[in-house]
């Protein structure tokens, strides 16, 4: 187990380094520079700005200049666009917000999704199966940028219960978390239903029932553990997606999370912020997938980690 984790960590570091290097090269060769603006500045001023940020150096030297301080003391450098803030600060401000939103969304997704999936599997081919499964089809098919504004129009504008945007009051968490949570809940519901149906038809469930175990005990104790395995294997990518891929949600609800910076940085050619967010997301995806694998092994004795 420990050996597995150690080797995966080493692999993750390798992958992150590779991704970072590729990104570094790609952004520098992408047309347009951080200093291309609609109001163009004279070549002299532009040259001054490039010199100021070391962009007049050859790429290999820029690479050394960037990764040197990063490896030595974790310094991601200053942002090109938001010039009085460092990339570390920007991430430090925005990441907790993305994490918090991810946490609530995941809670919504797991509660609704797993709940609906279990219910559907137990009442197969009844209204209690069809209804949540149809809803989950809707949840998967209708994009977030439709669900979000619909919730806003209903609950913020017509009913006036929530703010349309912002991330200040506790109530501001509700609509974004629901919007993001519904989407993943739909996946979880289908995965849970499938997993549960498979487990419920197995011998050990029949044995448990034959031994006189109550239905609740059969479902929660025996079946669920195996039934949620597909959910757990999907949890790694889902977690990473929830934390990193919340750009749409953050734009619709005007939330100062990391997803918006990630996209804006690429559009602004904010080289250092692009690097910072890419390195962070690559590391997160690597670690969360590792976490999901460990969790899977713990839930399913047939999975061996070595």
């Amino acid at each position: 187990m420990l050996k597995f984790i150690a080797s995966r960590l080493v692999q993750t570091v390798g992958v992150v380094w590779l991704v970072a290097t590729l990104t570094f090269v790609l952004v520098r060769f992408a047309p347009g520079s951080p200093f291309d603006q609609e109001r163009n500045v004279s070549p002299e001023i532009k040259a001054n700005m490039e010199k100021r940020y070391g962009l007049d150096q050859p790429v290999w030297k820029q690479y050394v200049n960037y990764f040197g301080p990063l490896i030595a003391h974790g310094d991601f450098g200053p942002s090109f666009k938001y010039s009085n803030r460092t990339v570390t600060e920007i991430i430090g401000d925005a990441l907790p917000i993305s994490f918090e939103m991810g946490f609530w969304a995941l809670l919504v997704a797991l509660t609704l999704g797993v709940g609906a999936g279990v219910l559907a599997s137990l009442r197969r081919n009844t209204a209690l199966d069809w209804l949540p499964m149809s809803l989950s089809l809707v949840g998967i098919s209708v994009p977030i940028f439709v669900v979000g504004p619909l919730l806003i129009v209903t609950f913020s504008i017509h009913l006036g219960w929530f703010n349309v945007n912002g991330w200040n009051e506790p109530a501001d968490r509700v609509l974004p978390s629901l919007t993001l949570g519904f989407y993943y809940a739909a996946y979880f519901a289908r995965l849970t239903r499938g997993g549960m149906l498979e487990v419920l038809s197995q011998d050990f469930i029949r044995t448990a029932r034959a031994k006189g175990a109550s239905e609740g005990r059969v479902v929660l104790r025996h079946a669920l553990r195996g039934g949620v395995l597909p959910v757990v294997s999907f949890l790694g990518p889902a977690l990473a997606g929830i934390v990193t891929g919340s750009f749409t949600i953050e734009t619709i609800f005007h939330i100062p999370g990391l997803g918006r910076y990630f996209i804006q940085a690429a559009l602004n050619r904010d080289y250092t912020l692009v690097m910072g967010t890419v390195i962070l997301f690559a590391s997160l995806i690597g670690l969360l997938n590792l976490l999901a694998d460990v969790l899977l092994a713990w839930l399913n004795p047939r999975v061996k980690l070595d």
Partner: protein
Amino acid sequence: MITLCRSTSLRSLLLPALLATLALVGTGCKKATRVAQGNKDQIFHYGNGGEPSDLDPQNVQGVPEHHIIKALFEGLVTMHPKDLSAQPGVAERWEVSPDGKTFTFTLRANARWSDGQPVTADDFVQSYERILNPKFAAPYAENLYLMVGAEEYNKGKLTDFTQVGVKAPEKRKLQITLRAPAPFFIGMLRHYSWFPVPMGTVTKFGKKYDKGNPWTRPENIVSNGPFTLKEWKPNDKIVVQKNPRYWDENSVQLKEIHFYPIDSTDTEELAFRAGELHATNKVPASKTDAYKQAGTTLRIEPYYGVYYYRVNMDPQKGSNPALKKAEVRRALALSIDREAIVKNVLRGGELAAWSFVPPGPGGYQTRDKLKYDPEGARKLLADAGYPGGKGVPKISILINTAEDHKAVAEAVQAMWKKELGIEVEINNQEWKVYLAAQNNMDYMVSRSGWIADYPDPNSFLGIHTTGNGNNNTGFASPKFDKLVVDSWSAGASGKRTGMLQEAEGLLLADMPVVPIYFYTRRYLIQSSVKGWFANMLDDHPWKYIYLDPAAPPDRLPVLGTAR
């Protein structure tokens, strides 16, 4: 973090269930909107478009930055909110030398920084040194080039700043010497690139020429405008509050302004509709009609800016040989039915542009206006050796990705094809790719826009001088350059207008730029906002604005009722 939030957020998860029950019972209650509360407390909520890159007046170049910086800082002069005439700011008065080149400003005794220090003439001198210093690499340094020696200093050809035309002979006397007696100089001073910065504060928190200097953070910043910075939550909001040390403190009625950097116009519109914003930055095009019908909040106002197509005429660069002929470029310009474009394509109240300089302040009128003349265009094309468009290589129009640009380009494409027989393709690029192509002159025809920095035709004509950073067409006419530069010395006279008209005539005859329409500003504003006037520069000085709590509620489009 999670443990901290657990108690509050668990509650917020219970909320929906609770509220759903409430909704079933049908007893939903609306709380007072942010706008209604703001009207009572004089707190203005403003949709500001985007997150500012910085709040250092010398280190920014965008419009969202401008809105905030003009609340925090003040230059020598300010603008009248209606007619844009110069009003005394930090300078209480100024004298001009007989040759019109030297301006002596007398600073007011009670102009102070928010830390209580007086704003001195030396603050201005030091600020101008900083923005012009090549080490600082300020994006808007070019705005100061009208000062003697400024350009040379900025380009490193002059290292002794005492030779630049700005002096502080006394604590409250600032003397600025210009290269030419430009009549638009005082109007230029409204721009933040001419604002002073508190050098003591700048050097206290970092190096003078360091762009990462944290002096503009709320806990550090010192400013001299009607407001001071209270809070800056990046990508969330910026709050400024009334500055009790501002010299004209009694005129300032707003207690706070909250700037929301909402980049999605749809999100912004929803926030407006829910009563969270007093004014928006824009309106989604799809919602304009609904707001027009609903009544009271939509504003469509003329804007001092032109939407145009650049034509790459550089004999060295550019891949379309036909575009190197003036006749062809003029034929392209004459065959665009601009009225049809503004009426049928844009539909936002824009004006067809038959000249490059929009009609505007000072009553400047273009002399040799363009017209819609497809017959004349065909003749020009034939004269150039391309009868019926035969032999003109396919023209590519470069646009950045946006619905409006695409729609206009498609209309122009159809008109050039129909009237001139020229094949046109549309080359759609991401913003920075588009900018790079345009700045490197790697295009044939490129969609462009220009908004004036100051209320004078020079703001539009000056960019076409040879080698100007915003020329980017290859247009190089010594005669044009001379007219523009000479017009600076002609004073505010009919003679000057004549020179500008002649210069614009040269531009339209050679046609490196094909004007298409003059911009309008479209936004939403609650009728409780008072002291906010339409003007050509879309500049609404904060100190004149106040909120009327007794204003009747606005009529807004209701979902499902908009026809």
